[in-house]
Amino acid sequence: MEFREALVLREIEDLSYKDIAHVSGVPIGTVMSRLARARKLLRDRLSGEVIP
């Protein structure tokens, strides 16, 4: 859930890390690691769709 939140705020709302941290109530470092994890999860899932 928090991964999705970070990714939505970053990619769809185009917020800065600082603003995401403010909205989510977590430190910027956490924002960074959540985004990295979120991207990896999403990429794995998407590539799973393309190559069954």
Binding site: I12, E13, D19, S24, G25
Partner: protein, 235 residues
């Protein structure tokens, strides 16, 4: 730096959140390392896929109304900042100013952007301050000080009326090379103030009060030259 160290920075790199030094380090590494360059490319593809997926949709009317109602009475508690309402919150973000901003700054930038649209820049196109100044007679209830700074590389190109935060203001347009500068001004009872600088949506803003006028200068010109412009106007 090693690949492992670089990999930790790649997300911040594609998000433009790295400091200058790390940014240069990552760029240098990407030129030499195909694996890391591929990682960056993957992230860019993902971004593109998200951008094209049409994921942004307005919240249903009832949700929107519920949020508006709750905003009227109290600020949303932090627990509400969760994903099920993210789509609805999208709306709140559009309506509410970002942290650290003021409505006036937003209005100044909007006025500037609006003026750059075709045929919106000037009502009185003239580089002659003796033409621009009298033009405001009868249009606003004050006579704005108009200065020609052509000799210093800031050419007066015209003036127009604009509307900021519920009042009519004078807008003077100057040009520095290809950059246009909008100066919004109106009478103010505030005491003279120093200059404050802000950057918003890539535009630089300067704000000051002088001799009974409040000034806002906005441009895509760099802050240093804009500061020079402000000093010349002040003299």
């Amino acid at each position: 730096m090693s690949c492992d160290e670089i990999k930790d920075l790649l997300d911040a790199f594609v998000d433009g959140e790295l400091d200058l030094r790390s940014n240069v380090a990552v760029e240098g590494h990407l030129n030499e390392c195909a694996a890391c360059a591929g990682e960056v490319e993957g992230r860019m593809e993902l971004r593109q896929a998200i951008g094209e997926a049409d994921l942004y949709f307005p919240a249903p009317r009832e949700v929107r109304q519920r949020i508006r109602r709750s905003l009227r009475t109290r600020w949303i508690p932090r627990v509400w900042w969760s994903v099920p309402v993210a789509a609805a919150l999208a709306l709140v973000f559009v309506l509410a100013p970002r942290p650290g901003s003021t409505a006036m700054e937003q209005a100044v930038v909007s006025g500037h952007v609006r003026s750059l649209m075709p045929n919106h820049l000037m009502d009185v196109p003239s580089s002659d301050s003796h033409t621009v100044k009298p033009w405001f007679n009868g249009k606003v209830d004050f006579s704005p000080p108009v200065k020609d700074l052509k000799a210093d590389g800031f050419t007066l190109v015209g003036g127009r009326l604009d509307y900021l935060q519920d009042r009519t203001v004078a807008a003077l347009v100057y040009q520095r090379r290809k950059h246009l500068i909008n100066v919004f001004l109106w009478p103010s009872s505030r005491a003279d103030s120093g200059v404050t600088a802000e950057t918003r949506q890539g535009y630089n803003l300067l704000h000051w009060t002088r001799s009974g006028f409040e000034y806002w200068a906005v441009s895509d010109l760099n802050l240093q030259e804009l500061g020079e412009f402000e000093r010349l106007l002040r003299e």
